[in-house]
């Protein structure tokens, strides 16, 4: 029997979408291995019905642990206890910052093998093989585990959410002790929204800006182009420029931001790091403008323009306006 334990991140009464994907994937893989997928939630007074609702995605049992939310190390403690007591063969995480931290800490705690940025997992001869793209996604490594426990950390949006309509999962309380290191970190404030509350998820046309815009004021060029497209268009941003305070967090694409798939995604001054790519690669049409011909974004854009965005964007804005007027 090979059971899989899936970490489910929750916030504000809802389970994270990537975690729902991970539970669905865990259920599929566990079935192939002849075992069950169980999920684990940790928090302060986690609602029972929220935990039980993971049954819809294929979890047979959900462990609920009481502890501080939003930090990785308490989950390492809880999952290590669950795995040691429950004999799980694999731990599975959807994409996301906390999943990376918990999975890595758990690997160290249990002496387990860990593979991150996994885009596909398959069962073969009773064990899992994880596929991980490397070198800017130019090659895929297949990795298996020699350890008793294997840890799989998915890439953002790698695992599809499948509402299998399963019955409520059995909910069990997990008691565990916090390790000394877990009690050394305290959440002061969580989930602070910086900048305006803009809505980009429903836009058909997204003009996205990165560090190549040069400064916060550079976003005016992106806003003017979005305005020229009119209708259902908006401006998005990369993590680097949001962290720098150039643009609101609500407009951020990628790893710790939004996932979008507009009809047109126009990336201006964005190099195309993996953490950005995972949030926009399913866009229908991707156009990139970057002065560096070697920028990774050209590897996955449909139309790439190597040039100075300060010259191109204003003229493009005028041309779009003219075309719209015609």
């Amino acid at each position: 029997m090979a059971n899989i334990l899936v970490y489910a991140l929750h916030y504000d009464g809802a389970i994270n979408k990537n975690s729902l994907g991970a539970v669905s994937e865990g259920a599929k893989l566990a079935a192939e291995l002849g075992g069950e997928a169980h999920a684990i939630l940790l928090g302060e007074n986690v609602p029972q019905d929220l935990a039980a609702s993971l049954g819809k995605y294929g979890a047979k049992k959900v462990l609920v642990a009481e502890g501080p939310e939003g930090l990785a190390q308490p989950l390492v403690d809880a999952m290590a206890k669950a795995i040691t007591d429950g004999g799980y063969k694999y731990a599975l995480f959807g994409g996301g910052l906390l999943g990376f931290e918990i999975g890595a800490g758990l690997a160290a705690r249990l002496g387990a093998g860990v593979v991150m940025e996994v885009t596909n997992v398959r069962a073969e001869n009773g064990e899992l093989i994880a596929e991980r793209p490397i070198l800017g996604d130019s090659s895929i490594s297949e990795v298996k585990y020699r350890s008793e426990v294997g840890i799989v950390i998915g890439r953002l949006n790698a695992f599809e959410i499948k509402d299998a309509g399963g019955a409520d999962a059995a909910v069990e309380t997990l008691s565990f002790d916090l390790s000394p290191q877990s009690s050394q970190a305290t959440m002061v404030t969580r989930g602070e929204q910086r900048g305006a509350d803009v809505d980009i998820e429903g836009a058909d046309v997204l003009i996205a800006g990165g560090r190549g815009l040069g400064k916060a004021e550079g976003f005016e060029l992106a806003e003017q182009l979005a305005a020229a497209f009119g209708g259902n268009s908006a401006v998005a941003a990369t993590r680097a420029v949001v962290d720098a305070g150039w643009y609101p967090y609500a407009a951020q694409i990628g790893q710790t931001g939004k996932t979008v798939s507009p009809k047109l995604y126009l990336a201006a001054g964005i190099s195309g790091a993996i953490q950005h790519k995972v949030g926009m690669q399913s866009s229908e049409n991707i156009v990139a403008i970057n002065k560096d011909a070697n920028a990774p974004i050209f590897e996955f854009s449909d139309l790439g323009i190597v040039g100075d965005l300060n010259k191109i964007l204003p003229k493009l804005t005028e041309a779009v306006k003219a075309k719209k007027g015609s």
Partner: protein
């Protein structure tokens, strides 16, 4: 306070990276440099030292890698580290993330740091996880992707972007912190610092010196085992326009968009 900064030698960004098809390991020959993300960690250490909120006795750069990794240490020292430690041992070659984190933790243990800093990721392996592995082995609290850090005598107040917005976390020292690239703008080393880097103390150690259990490191002992490489699904290459005449470029973009009914 003693700060250790973990650094790594990576292939130069301009060098095309490849995998050795027989082992699945990265071919690490060719031009190399200090991982650019690590320069933010060294700069963060320097800003704590210069900030004066707490006295910093020493900043020590620590790496694991082949002989050539000494250059990454020289670069780290030219950026402000006082001395460096190099874990150089054939026994650790080919270690996976978990084994590498264990070996680095053992190397750090001998230094007994109050704070361990590292960059958010390596430019080559694209792992964001080594900090969490190191912290677990050292039984220290840890946080990754930190973009603001205020230090006092026994704790850090850290900010970072996580799944649902910005989090502020108070962490007691000693701790392991991986810093995001938005935390600072690393300085350029002075010519004098570059010239002087080779004269700063460099301690080269083997696994025996830092009590690393040989059965837990190296490619053969790593729990994640590479089995095969395959090509990603073929994707038709996009069209590329080199902008020479911007008017013409824009016309081409408009035509391309128009063809797809995107305007």
């Amino acid at each position: 306070m003693k700060i250790c900064v973990l650094v790594k030698e990576v292939p130069d960004a301009a060098v095309e990276k490849r995998i050795d098809p027989s082992t699945g390991r990265m071919d690490r020959s060719g031009e190399k440099n200090l991982n650019p993300y690590d320069t933010h960690a060294i700069e963060a250490a320097m800003q704590i030292k210069e900030g004066g909120a707490v006295p910093v006795e020493e900043i020590v750069a620590v790496t694991m890698g082949p002989e050539s990794a000494v250059r990454a240490l020289h670069k780290a020292v030219s950026l402000g580290a006082d001395r460096s430690v190099h874990l150089a041992d054939q026994a650790v070659a080919g270690s996976d993330v978990a084994a590498t984190g264990y070996a680095l933790a053992k190397t750090l243990q001998r230094e007994n740091p109050d704070l361990v800093l590292l960059g958010q990721q390596s430019d080559d392996g694209e792992c964001y996880t080594i900090g969490a592995v190191v912290a677990e082995h050292l039984s220290m609290p840890s946080l990754t992707q930190v973009i603001k850090m205020d230090v006092d005598s026994d704790s850090l107040r850290c900010e970072r972007q996580a799944e649902y917005g910005y989090d502020t976390v108070q962490i007691k020292l000693p701790a392991v912190i991986s810093v995001g690239d938005a935390i600072n703008e690393p300085r350029y080393p002075s010519l004098k610092a570059i010239m002087g880097a080779k004269k700063k103390p460099l301690d080269t150690v083997g696994i025996g010196d830092v009590e690393i259990d040989a059965s837990k490191v190296g490619g053969e002992n790593s729990a994640a085992q590479w089995v095969a490489a395959k090509a990603p699904p073929a994707k038709s290459a996009g069209e590329i326009i080199e902008d020479e005449d911007t008017g013409e470029t824009v016309e081409k973009i408009i035509a391309w968009l128009d063809e797809r009914k995107l305007i």
